[in-house]
Symmetry: C2
Subunit: 365 residues, 2 copies
Amino acid sequence: MNQAFYVPTKVVMGDGCIQKNRGLLAQMGKTALIVTGAHSAKKNGSLQDITDTLTLNGQSYKVFDKVMSNPTIACVYEGAAYAKEIGADFLMAAGGGSIMDAGKAIALLARQDIPEEKLFSGNYKKDVLPMAFVPTTAGTGSEVTPFSILTNDKAKTKTSIATPLLFPTLALLDGKYMQNLPHRTTANTAVDALSHCIEGVLSNKASTITDCLATEGIRLVASCFDDIKKDTLSLNQRTDLLIASMLGGMVIANTGTAAVHAMGYSLTYFKHIDHGLANGLLMGRFLALMEKDCSGRIGLILSNLKLPSVSAFTELLAELLEKPQGLTEEEVNQYARLAMRAKNMANCLVMPKEEDLRKILKESL
Amino acid sequence: MNQAFYVPTKVVMGDGCIQKNRGLLAQMGKTALIVTGAHSAKKNGSLQDITDTLTLNGQSYKVFDKVMSNPTIACVYEGAAYAKEIGADFLMAAGGGSIMDAGKAIALLARQDIPEEKLFSGNYKKDVLPMAFVPTTAGTGSEVTPFSILTNDKAKTKTSIATPLLFPTLALLDGKYMQNLPHRTTANTAVDALSHCIEGVLSNKASTITDCLATEGIRLVASCFDDIKKDTLSLNQRTDLLIASMLGGMVIANTGTAAVHAMGYSLTYFKHIDHGLANGLLMGRFLALMEKDCSGRIGLILSNLKLPSVSAFTELLAELLEKPQGLTEEEVNQYARLAMRAKNMANCLVMPKEEDLRKILKESL
């Protein structure tokens, strides 16, 4: 078993953790670019806590609040230009995966001129703005990964910039920013965190450490299933989901994601299906496929989910998620073909065939 | 629960991992100081693998092989002077905890002039030689911790330099270097790894992540108890112990050690009792003390040890370890007093009284 493991991000957590760790923020620079979406960081209080703390520290800042869901390449170049304009020497982001992923690309592009055609090349200078991230959904784990996943219109999918340079310096986790998340967002993001843990267990790069973290993440999400469904999560449960999301991030930082994500990107790109939802729709049937060749690994997942079978898991996901319209045969064929080409497929413990992916896509939606 | 977690060291593992990761070593510098003890790194093949790989990379090196068990302050100043003399721009270490701990202090002192009276101050410039470590015992986990523990004759104990600067850049783990370890060393170091995991569970800084890693470490060591006792460990089991040791290191990097280590330092300093053995002798009775106030945590430890009671654990340790001569009443009093002053005590989930420590010391030896 491969035992490589690397997550250089410092994680701090707890109520008021932005303010309590202001000393760590003070070390990061003089002028911050704060990356957010248009609304949520203002509503949930995270932006206020950040700006109050930076002000207290005597640090200046500007806010770039133009990041949309599934951020585009144009958006991150615009953010980087703004970072340069204001002379930002560090970057903060408050938001979900889209915000943090955009923040990472902005941090990279603010310090080096990379033409668009080389953005996903993997060849970068060792120069990036230091980053401190505040996740406000519990799904992506982007605060502890080296990935920035962007909408890539040329490749007609989502593509990741993947480099250890993109590990944030600091992750600041406070469950209170998630207390007013819409029900659908809560469910979809929790399933996203779960998918990271599950794909990590089914990765050919799984190790003792990633298995530890992944199974704990699975247990934490599973312990919240009932209250996710009923939208009755307590602050403690929100915090557990935030931990699960971070654990999932640490897992995929080392294992990568696999076929579920590879297929899910098409559902998001072409059908505008939320990322976590896309993964959740596909996960049950992917596990059923893997069960033949990886029964031990599937058993590990099910025992931590406290579920008797893959079909019970598929049913549970169906209860948690809103199923969108089905796909045409042409769409199924196209998405399976695109998925087979995705980088993520190299992480599969057992490599699915294109016809397997067609079957999963067809039956899942 | 506190959820801070930080281990920036990159861990790679497997058969031939020094050679296979020579690209990572190539990035570290031009001239290495290789820190070892007098004999073991030569016998177990690790030094040869390092020098072969550096030569293949076109990197130059010199060997400093003067580190003794429980390294002295004089030794690390001597090593640092040698590092400066040869113009080392990175440091490798191959050995057990003593070697790695000395290596860290040498890496620090090679880059900044710190007078002896300020060596343990915690105030250092951000400047240290990059380090790549090859552990050749499975106990200390020093390859993933920010601690350098040195023999401090002024304080009549072992004292740690503790700073995030001391996290090695790279840990290279290969179980084959441990195949010919003496039986006593194997047992004592395995118990040391176990003590890190157990003290981590009983720390007031324990978190979801450290609990995950600690309980896995406990399970791995427990799965080897029989073969440690019989000295019949396979290479796979050696590898499991090396993983357990690394997990224990990641745990104490975040939780610190506690009362067992605080007391153990006196047994090592005054009675020359091996560090792992010292911890092992004291651990059973420390758990018995903690059981009153922390029964849930003790239950977590016992369930992962697959043992029914603390007394069963104490008996098992007695079978694994060689018990030295008892202590005089004067020694018991002195060691308890010194332990109460140790920095480690601040990490105890429940603070023992000095009379508790006297009782543990008296009954354990």
